[in-house]
Point group: C2
Chain length 376, copies 2
């Protein structure tokens, strides 16, 4: 067996032996490398904390089968010495949250799909939200995700029903890149109703997980997984979230990692937007369109345009011109003196504005008196 | 004629002679008092700027008729030396915006209604928004305004169709105080369709305007009026606003006067909420309920309660307890060793959590194995 093979088997073994993320396991691997770390764990020759973390599984070694399964599907194991490892994205784990035991990069990532994780992480947004999405939330998620994909921003999400699924689908429909970070093994299609969607993501985008094959998603694994969704994206956008949605957890991770958190507003009468409004009251960025999101993750100078405003012919008028215009009667006509009284301007001040209004087609003269021009 | 009568006639004359707000007129009145100021303006013995502002109307004196009309309706003229003058509220005009020529308190206020303006201004919120309100906006405006009224917060608005009208009505329905600041004379019911509503406000709340009787609303007068809506309220809440709504102008006045600006979010797909979202992206406070608004205008310590959150029996669990709970199978049973493998915990670490889950009614033992308790 080649050294490379031995190393990969060790990584695979380590990936299963402790529930991630394990600070102690990462420390040991950092010290002695994966092969020696695996060997010591098998022998029980490790510190008491790591021994406790690995006691339940250290005698289980299915690493060869795991790697065969991965290879048979065309997948790969991305390790921290791989060029595809998103070094910059994961550097955020060393920031403000580093004192938390769970604020850790993954040990390895099991990956499937043509997209390159390091490239994806350079320009990506997480679009997350409740499984109990409303049709409004689905509409907005699709709109944002499609808009991001069209601007070459990868869409990262969790593969769940509701907002996540819509975000993935809209990115695929726009021929963009989408990444699903799973809370279980790469061979476990969860939720089952998303088997076909996850297959398409693995074919056109990227499936990644820190869990070895066969591991089933569990509630705490979703929460652990959320940190990777937040870390792989330059910003996290919550589209719809109830007050207890997991999306708020992803947003909290993004904030801990120093990444912008954005949320989409919705009706205050909608429970599915209540979590978004809590985030917005807490300082999250309000976003309504894809280009406002791109402003958060895009290149410098990629600023959102102001929303288009309706313009009226009155926009360019000065204050005096407007006062005169407003003083003109809707029906009938007024003399200059009457206009002066109505507008509060001196008669001498009324002539200039009237002339301008006439040229602009807003007012017209009739036998020395004035009225508004109708039927423009 | 008494001195008091003479003074009131002078105020009424001054109120009409220059289009408000006039900095020069205010300065003259401040120097020589209203009676002498009126006298000098009639003679044309004033500076050139004020002469221009008063030239069109200085020969018109209908002050006696104006005061008779006001008295016949049961109204009153509130002047700056009246105890009802809201000194604190209008002090804001001397702040950051004072260099703007239109950032001025009114010269006088024509008022009708039982509420006392000085008391109202101590605890008031402006609720404003588009005339083209949606049913969503109307629902939220009514909810906010009714909630404020129930907590003795006066609702100030502009008497217009749409959000303004709903806000006034909901405050009246809750037996609260509502104030309409008009952009024309107190005898001009504008819009005409709100005659009955304005009559009710003048009977139970307060109608105020800086314009003398007979003056018709005009576009620039609405903008000028908006500064008084913002000044009389401790905070301004925009419920729905298109991108060009006048409500954004009231919000701009509130900001200039140093008062909190809040906005209600809505669907990003609704043009009637687009102006609110622009305000929120610009730093306005997002509000969803009346008590969040009261927090902005209320007494110290009157804080909004956190929104009620659904609670689940899993909320109090520790990380290890949750890991064990998640490892329990939905169907069938697992041994302690199997639970240890599934959860990644050492077998010795599984017993404690299992015992707690059993006591909590979340897990149950069966022939030495464990499963989730169903049908709680």
């Amino acid at each position: 067996m080649s050294v490379a093979d031995t190393t990969m088997l060790a990584w695979a073994y380590l990936s299963r032996v402790a529930e991630p993320p394990s600070r102690e396991l990462a420390a040991l691997v950092g010290q002695v490398g994966p092969v020696e770390a695996a060997e010591r764990i098998r022998r029980g020759a490790v510190g008491s904390e790591l021994a406790r973390h690995t006691e339940a599984r250290r005698d289980i070694d299915v690493s060869a089968a795991d790697l065969r399964l991965l290879a048979s599907r065309g997948g790969r194991l991305i390790t921290s010495d791989d060029p595809e490892w998103p070094v910059l994205a994961f550097a955020a784990f060393g920031g403000a949250g580093a004192s938390r035991p769970d604020c850790r990069p993954p040990l390895v990532l099991w990956a499937l799909g043509p997209a390159h994780l390091d490239e994806v992480a350079e320009r990506a947004t997480a679009i997350v939200g409740t499984r109990a999405a409303t049709s409004y939330g689905e509409l907005v998620a699709a709109d944002l995700s499609g808009g991001l994909a069209e601007h070459d921003v990868a869409v990262v999400s969790g593969g769940a029903y509701g907002i996540d699924g819509v975000a993935h689908r809209a990115a695929l429909a726009a021929a963009g890149i989408t990444v699903a970070v799973l809370a279980g093994g790469i061979d476990i299609a969860y939720p089952a109703g998303h088997s076909a969607l996850l297959h398409r993501i693995g074919t056109h985008g990227l499936l990644v997980t820190e869990y070895p094959p066969g591991v089933r998603p569990a509630r705490y694994r979703f929460l652990t997984r959320n940190r990777l969704v937040a870390a792989l994206a330059g910003a996290t956008v919550v589209v719809e979230a109830g007050l207890r949605s997991g999306a708020a957890n992803t947003a909290a991770w993004a904030r801990l990692l120093g990444r912008p958190v954005a949320a989409v507003p919705g009706p205050v009468t909608s429970a599915a937007s209540a979590g978004c409004h809590v985030l917005l009251r807490g300082g999250a960025e309000l976003v309504t369109r894809a280009d406002e999101v791109i402003e958060l993750v895009g290149r410098v100078g990629e600023l959102a345009q102001d929303p288009p405003r309706p313009v009226t012919p009155l926009d360019g008028l000065s204050v005096a011109e407007r006062q005169v215009y407003e003083a003109l009667p809707g029906r009938g006509v007024l003399t200059v003196d009457q206009i002066a009284v109505a507008s509060g301007l001196a008669p001498a001040q009324v002539f200039g504005p009237l002339a301008l209004l006439e040229v602009a087609g807003l007012a017209e003269r009739r036998d020395g008196s004035w009225r508004i021009t109708r039927a423009r």
